[in-house]
């Protein structure tokens, strides 16, 4: 089209040259600015990633830094004389008498004999408070198991009080004025004496892994919550896996494309994004008020979490089913299998790694979920280890929530330690999902 102005070719060429020179000048002039903008943009990107990593690092270091010390616990060595006069005055070794005896008195008299100079009532009280209440339970348990001990001197390590524990872990400021400290000067002196005689030391905290909840930090453990979590997850898995897979199979393979299945699809996508607390409201209104199922039970927790994880499992299973190539189905149908036989014997086994990956991720979500469980009463203070799905219980995340609310300084480290345990489980589950995907995923 430029051919129309062929007569003055020369001037046109000059013109173009002039123009292009001018363009390149314009471009060159702007270049430094544009390159700076480019560098700035890149820097923002790097900054964003850096910030993300910093948040992650701060989160983990603060939790590990707060929590690692909860895996040890301060113990005090006591040589307790099991006085037959106190424990079993009749000498009949009756279990009921043994169970009701004043073991606290034994602990106290042992402490008095260790510090004979303590006389006044108030000082004695301060002295007794160095050792946890758990000491007397410990002695009782040993005596009940082995009545031979009566009349002998039992040498054992008992947990120290949480304040002593904090002091030994360096989490209490010795130099603060006495009125600001939870341990008074005298108590510090006794603790130092104990330390000199090697009667106080830090040991691995087995209580933390074997006990249920307690108001005393030194006696509180996560086992009760862990069992509750386990029971809840079992219920969730037993319900959500079969139902989720069945729903995915139907929607992906057999459902006719009509309005109803469209509605179901939209529904599932929406359910995946409904806030978890709304599922808690559903559980409260339907399972507890309408069906009258027991509160705080892992069964209800499992039901609510099932409804919550179903969308995740269905979506993941559908993706896994979709990735199985149609040729597999066609080959099965070609040798005379019915559509359901082709599904059960050929497509489903091939899709199983993907389905399992989705299920594990769903279970990990369920394991970390707290809010809906608060609604159905799983926040109760429960000391006993639950023994079935109808027993009142709590779960790990809720235990973390409860401890985070407790004022004692020693609960802070226990909360962080419980978080570390929970995160370990979650990371293990996710790692398992990744491994499953890597090992068994087939690209067609």
């Amino acid at each position: 089209m430029n051919n129309t102005d062929t007569p003055n070719t020369n001037t046109a060429v000059d013109d173009v040259e002039l123009k292009s020179r001018r363009t390149i000048e314009i471009v060159n002039r702007g270049l430094a600015k544009r390159k700076a903008a480019e560098r700035r943009f890149r820097f923002y990107g790097k900054l964003a990633i850096f910030m993300g990593m910093v948040f992650l690092a701060v989160l983990f270091t603060s939790i590990v830094g707060n929590g690692y010390s909860a895996f040890v616990q301060t113990y005090v060595k006591l040589d307790v004389y099991i006085d037959p006069q106190i424990v079993d005055p009749q000498g009949e070794r009756d279990q009921e008498v043994l169970s009701g005896a004043n073991y606290g008195g034994l602990v106290k008299s042992t402490l008095r004999s260790m510090f004979p100079e303590v006389k006044s009532r108030r000082d004695k009280k301060a002295l007794y408070s160095l050792v946890s209440n758990g000491a007397s339970y410990d002695i009782r348990q040993r005596v009940m198991e082995n009545p031979e001990l009566i009349g002998q001197t039992l040498s054992l390590w008992v947990p120290a009080d949480d304040d002593v524990d904090m002091l030994m872990k360096g989490k209490m400021d010795r130099d603060a004025p006495e009125s600001d400290r939870r341990l008074k000067d005298k108590q510090l002196m006794w603790i130092d004496q104990l330390a000199e005689q090697n009667l106080i030391e830090k040991r691995f905290n087995t209580t933390f892994f074997t006990a249920g909840d307690s108001r005393d930090p030194e006696l509180a453990g996560i086992w009760g919550a862990a069992v509750g979590s386990f029971l809840t997850l079992i219920v969730t898995l037993a319900l959500s896996f079969p139902i989720g897979v069945a729903a995915a199979v139907y929607l992906e393979e057999f459902a006719p494309k009509n309005r109803l299945t469209d509605i179901i699809e939209v529904n599932i996508n929406n359910l995946a994004a409904v806030p978890s607390i709304v599922f808690g409201l559903l559980g409260l209104a339907v399972f507890i008020n309408f069906f009258g199922l027991p509160r705080s039970a892992p069964l209800i927790g499992g039901l609510v979490l099932t409804l919550m994880t179903l969308p995740t499992i269905i979506i993941a299973s559908r993706a896994a089913l979709k990735s199985v190539p149609p040729s597999i189905r066609e080959a099965a149908l070609g040798v005379g299998a019915s559509p359901q036989q082709a599904m059960i014997y050929h497509v489903l086994p091939l899709a199983m790694p993907g389905i399992l990956t989705g299920t594990i991720i769903g279970m990990a979500q369920a394991l970390g979920e707290t809010a809906p469980l608060l609604m159905i009463g799983m926040v109760a203070f429960i000391v006993d280890i639950p023994s079935g799905v109808f027993d009142p219980s709590t779960v790990l995340p809720v235990q973390i929530f409860l401890w985070a609310d407790s004022p004692e300084r020693a609960f802070v480290e226990r909360t962080s330690a419980a978080i570390m345990v929970l995160l370990t489980f979650l990371i293990a589950m996710n790692a398992l999902a990744v491994v499953l995907r890597k090992r068994f995923e087939r690209r067609w």
């Binding site: 544009r34 390159k35 903008a37 480019e38 943009f41 890149r42 990107g45 790097k46 964003a48 990633i49 910030m51 993300g52 948040f55 992650l56 701060v58 989160l59 939790i63 079969p242 989720g244 069945a246 729903a247 139907y250 599932i268 996508n269 929406n270 359910l271 994004a273 409904v274 806030p275 607390i277 709304v278 409201l281 559903l282 409260l284 209104a285 069906f291 009258g292 409804l307 969308p311 019915s338 990990a364 394991l367 970390g368 707290t370 809010a371 608060l374 609604m375 926040v379 995340p397 809720v398 973390i400 929530f401 985070a404 909360t415 962080s416 978080i419 929970l422 979650l426 990371i427 996710n430």
Partner: protein, 460 residues
């Protein structure tokens, strides 16, 4: 426990029926299974289904209605002076009777009438249990053996089993719909009851929220005001702060990872960011309450600012951190979905990489990014644990991020944890808030999913 045993017995009967059905099929075919219409396995399954399913259905229906029927029977037999007490008192008496039956602590003294009623209840209960066991077992054995006798070579067992399986599959997929209906109904009914006590206009436009209703009429300071505006503004304030953190960081890291980063950096940073997404919200809540909030308070103290120890800033900041991976993975998806030809075109014209991203890729990906951000907003609004642990409890109508505000989810949790009575507006208010929460997040999700889907179609 008896119920559990019954279920086990029924399952065992079913497996026996399966085994017998298979054997019978072989016998009918005289060892030549080609004569059979279906594989022997299907005859076994058919018998097992007929043996187990009707009995289990009977069991389910029975358990659902047993308590109500027995209670009504017992109440009908109570002496006249107890029955005429009026519904509330009668309910108490019935509860006491049930406690007596289960051996729990009873609130009032045990009168002989109540003891008699409890014995009656126990009697009826044991009759009902035994009746159930007999009926269920009879149906199981009857159904199973009836089907066993009907096994013939021409019987279309596979088709029957497969249509049963189809019904099961359809039932499983409709659970999603049932869940939605359940949510809507449970939240809606309680909300309607709430709006009978508190007008809906006061709830949506009222400016004061103090849900402590008086137990006695003459109590001071417990008027019970249910104006939810402070909750809405609090929720929006915290969500807004969260988005201020999450959107720039999430979006920029997604852009950097998909456009600039080499495969090595991508392979390390992406999983690390996803760890942030996998951390339970209660952990974020602990982090916010224990580390971020005191830090912000102290930092504000140094600058001479008066920061509340449960400031909206701390909760919003941590919520933002939680949402970063959500924004970044959604943006990553949409940025990767932009066709390479658009990038090549821009480079061909001499654009730098950042110009290409800002002028070409970003506008092309914008609908998807907006959809992702809407999903993130709905996540922030519905987030519970962070705000429960790090935000305030008192409703406070303010836009100052340094003050403590409360949110919809915090109020739902505080109103519903602990003891509750189901007819006070205080408890019902939680369901009304739940209705608002559900509606808002649903609308956001529908819009977001629509936008994302529409955008995806554009480039497919």
């Amino acid at each position: 426990m008896q119920a559990f045993t019954l279920i086990i017995v029924l399952l065992m009967l079913s497996s026996v029926a399966y085994y017998l059905g298979r054997k019978r099929a072989f016998a009918v075919a005289q060892g030549n299974i080609r004569k059979l219409h279906s594989l022997p396995l299907y005859y076994g399954l058919y018998a097992a289904i007929w043996c187990g399913i009707p009995a289990l259905l009977i069991f389910a229906v029975w358990s659902a209605f047993e308590t109500t029927i027995i209670t009504n029977l017992v109440v009908a037999d109570l002496p006249e002076h107890i029955r005429s007490l009026g519904p509330d008192r009668l309910n108490l008496v019935v509860n006491d009777i049930k406690n007596l039956v289960s051996g729990n602590i009873v609130s009032s003294e045990i009168s002989p009438e109540m003891q008699a009623a409890a014995d009656h209840y126990r009697h009826l209960q044991s009759i009902s249990h035994w009746l159930l066991v007999v009926i269920a077992l009879a149906i199981a054995v009857g159904g199973g053996s009836f089907m066993l006798t009907k096994i013939k070579t021409k019987q279309r067992a596979r088709n029957a089993v497969e249509s049963f399986l189809t019904i099961v599959l359809i039932a499983c997929s409709s659970i999603a719909i049932l869940t939605t209906i359940g949510i809507v109904l449970s939240v809606l009914f309680e909300s309607i009851r709430f709006f009978k006590a508190v007008p809906i206009s006061e709830f949506i436009f009222g400016l004061t929220w103090s849900p402590q209703t008086a137990i006695r009429a003459d109590q001071v300071g417990s008027s019970g005001a249910f104006g939810a505006v402070p909750l809405f503004t609090g929720t929006l304030l915290i969500s807004f702060i969260a988005m201020l953190v999450a959107v720039p960081i999430g979006l920029m890291s997604a852009i950097y990872l998909s456009e600039y980063a080499g495969p090595k950096l991508r392979a390390t940073v992406k999983p690390l960011l996803e760890i942030l997404a996998g951390i339970p919200t209660v952990v974020y809540g602990f982090f916010a309450a224990l580390i971020v909030a005191p830090f912000i308070r102290d930092a504000g103290g140094i600058l001479g600012l008066d920061v509340a120890s449960e400031s909206a800033l701390a909760a919003g900041l941590v919520m933002g951190i939680m949402i970063i991976p959500f924004v970044s993975s959604l943006s990553d998806d949409v940025i990767n979905a932009v066709p390479q030809s658009l990038r090549d075109g821009a480079y061909g014209l001499g654009a730098t990489q950042s110009e290409t991203i800002r002028r070409v890729i970003f506008p092309a990906a914008l609908p998807g990014i907006v959809g992702g951000i809407l999903l993130a907003v709905s996540r922030a609004i519905g987030e519970t644990m962070i705000v429960v642990m790090a935000a305030g409890l008192a409703a406070n109508l303010t836009a100052n991020p340094l003050e403590a505000v409360t949110t919809v989810t915090v109020q739902i949790v505080t109103l519903l944890t602990g003891d509750q009575e189901f007819d006070s507006p205080k408890t019902l208010a939680a369901f009304a808030l739940g209705l608002v929460l559900f509606t808002v997040t649903l609308v956001l999700n529908v819009i977001a999913l629509h936008v994302v889907r529409k955008y995806r179609e554009q480039y497919e």
